[in-house]
Amino acid sequence: MTLFIQQLFNGVALGGVYCLAAIGLTLVFGVLRIPNLAHGSLYMLGAYVTYFFLTTVGVPYVAAIGIAALVLFVLGVLLERLVFHPLRNSPHTHHMIAAIGAMFFFQAVAQAIWGADFRRMETPLSGSLHILGAEISAQRIVIIVTAIVVLSLLTWFIKRSIHGQTIEAIEQDRTGAALVGINPAMVSMLTLGLSALLVTIAAGLVSPINLLSPTMGDSLNLKVFAIIILGGLGSLPGAIVGSFALAIAETMTSTYISSAVGEAVAFVVLVGVLAIKPTGLFAKAVQR
């Protein structure tokens, strides 16, 4: 029983990380209609920039994540403006090729600046909490709490603020939104910036329990794609439910079946969803 509770908490913490990463990806898909294959490398860069501010510059942990999130926001905006915007009228394959190019480019930059070695990010949060016999480290509790806070803020932003509402408007009908005076180009930049910001928070939170390396984004990339396909491309609730479902499924199968199966779960789910319900759990009205 203790093992079950322990693994449940581990699963929920992992779900929080997946969630912050998947939400941005699904937003980008909703607005720009492109699968941003460079998402995992934005996550990796977010981790390195946080590491840079924390270790090299020496600002406190939370501030480091905040500054890194802003830096990555700008980078996301630039990525949209310089790579995806010029391709907006090209066939879809061009976006994917451009995204893969960006991914390799970011990895090469990270390796050139920080080297290929693994790096460890120290966190000021140590100690752990005992809940029902399970031992939950402070870092994991912070991950869960931050995920909830950030998701609430994001929901408020999209539903209540003018800029957020434009994102939803573009998602629902790009032409219609343009007709009522919303600038799709601005919204596209805002969305990619926001996705980079969210994934940086995820990276900043998970780095202390893992290691930094230029290829750290690769495995996350595959999993968040499985998540947003499971949840329904472009759907926010889908991404949230998908993240926690996949993370808990992953930890539980690793615990009660085997680690190899746990790692494969994401892809079994992916194939299953595509075969049975290709629109995902929370299908949005398919546009165009």
Binding site: L3, Q6, Q7, N10, G11, A13, L14, V17, L82, V83, P86, L87, R88, N89, S90, G101, A102, F104, F105, Q107, A108, V109, Q111, A112, G115, A116, D117, F118, R119, R120, S128, E135, S137, R140, R174, T175, A178, L179, P184, A185, V206, I209, N210, L211, S213, P214, T215, D218, S219, L220, T251, S254, T255, S258, S259, A260, E263
Partner: protein, 407 residues
């Protein structure tokens, strides 16, 4: 469709693409040796290894050792057949892919006339062995502890590190002595990790130990080690087998201690205890059996090598056997060229290795220098030690009886 006029700024796009490529090329082209030749003649030593992607750190460690040796040898001045020879290291990236490694090796042998190609991965070496003794001939300086590469009887292969199978028995003895009879597996899922898992399983059973479930995980893709560690500990093991790249291995051991594990660790040779101590405290790594760190060797050149390494790589990095053993092996190859009196005939160079071993300058002996080479081409240091890191954070030496390379 959108109402935006279709005048996509192609020049901007083109500039961005070209800029991206230029930067990426600039970033990739960092490695490799310089091409200046000061002496009368020069010889290229080829290297194909992972210099980008997941294995890049490993590939760079090897490259550092090779480059340090080349620089030192050139400074000493190498003379072959009465002529002054400058050695040049040429590195190519194979991203850990055996097929790329083989074509890199072919290119190094054909275009650069390299008599020797270094490769640090068993799969790649097996692929290169298909092509090094046919139309083009070159020697493989093979950095892998998988004995399969000498079992294939390739006449131009030189295997550098000890056979990993030699470690299974002393690891098992030490692991049981400091832990207990029940073993859990938390190794890495790579092919090499699985070979180790099998070797340890066999020895552990031979010693009447109990084996728990195989909890091997992919060290590169798991984002949180707490889950797999909790699972392994739920079986209440006395010893745990761990190992993959040093840093993730360190995190797993730290997590196991945090969750209350008191037994012993068997640390696969891919992970180096002193390198692991760069990401966690040494006290989180105690009560473990592993390979002896380079700094614990008492070879005549070890101290100077470490000093030199710190100048090259910075004092935050730890010199591992990947760097040190490849450093030694290039010195052996250079000496063999001198003895053979040729820089271009790989067969003569390979044949001169046994004579060259005793003639290598002491300063190149840094990490258990080999005294002989087996008929199959395996460099052997008869005084091989492993280490037990005790609770006082001291590395104790434990001698190893080496097993035969034949199946």
């Amino acid at each position: 469709m959108t109402s935006i006029p279709r005048r996509a700024s192609r020049p901007v796009l083109a500039a961005a693409v070209i800029g991206t490529f230029a930067l990426a090329l600039g970033a990739c082209g960092g490695g490799g040796g310089s091409g200046d030749s000061g002496g009368d003649e020069s010889v290229v030593i080829g290297y194909t290894g992972p210099l980008s992607g997941g294995g890049a750190a490993y590939g760079e460690n090897v490259q550092t050792g090779l480059q340090m040796a080349v620089d030192d040898l050139n400074k000493d001045g190498l003379e072959v057949d009465g002529k002054k020879v400058t050695i040049e290291l040429k590195s190519l990236d194979d991203k850990y892919a055996p097929s790329t490694a083989a074509s890199n090796a072919q290119r190094l042998a054909d275009q650069d006339k390299a008599p020797v190609v270094v490769s640090p991965n068993a799969g790649a070496i097996k692929a290169i062995q298909q092509i090094n003794d046919g139309r083009s001939k070159f020697m493989i300086s093979a950095y892998t502890s998988d004995p399969a590469i000498v079992q294939s009887d390739n006449p131009l292969t030189m295997m550098i590190p000890p056979n990993f199978e030699s470690y299974a028995k002393p690891f098992t003895e030490q692991g049981m002595k400091h832990g207990g009879k029940k073993l859990a597996f938390l190794g890495t899922q790579s092919e090499y990790g699985q070979q180790w898992t099998k070797a340890i399983t066999d020895e552990w059973k031979k010693a009447n130990g109990k084996i728990g479930a195989d909890n091997s995980i992919d060290y590169a893709t798991v984002s949180d080690f707490a889950g797999p560690v909790s699972k392994a500990l739920s079986e209440k093991p006395d010893s745990i087998f761990v190992g993959g790249p040093s840093q993730p291995t360190a995190l797993i051991m730290e997590e196991a201690k945090k969750q209350g594990f008191k037994g012993s660790f068997l640390v696969m040779d891919q992970a180096k205890l002193d390198e692991m101590a760069t990401v966690t405290k040494l006290k989180n790594l105690t009560n473990s059996v592993g390979v002896l760190p380079v700094k614990e060797y008492k070879d005549p050149g070890t101290k100077d090598f470490l000093k030199h390494f710190a100048e090259v790589a910075g004092d935050k990095k730890v010199a591992t056997s990947e760097t040190a053993l490849n450093y030694q092996s290039i010195a052996i190859i250079a000496k063999a060229m001198e003895v053979a009196g040729t820089t271009s005939d790989p067969e003569k160079i390979r044949a001169a290795v046994p004579d060259a071993l005793s003639k290598v300058d002491d300063k190149y002996k840094v990490n258990g220098f080999p005294t002989e080479i087996s008929d199959q081409g395996h460099l052997v240091n008869p005084d091989l030690d492993i280490t037990y890191l005790n609770k006082d954070e001291k590395y104790m030496k434990v001698p190893v009886d080496q097993v035969s390379d034949t199946k």
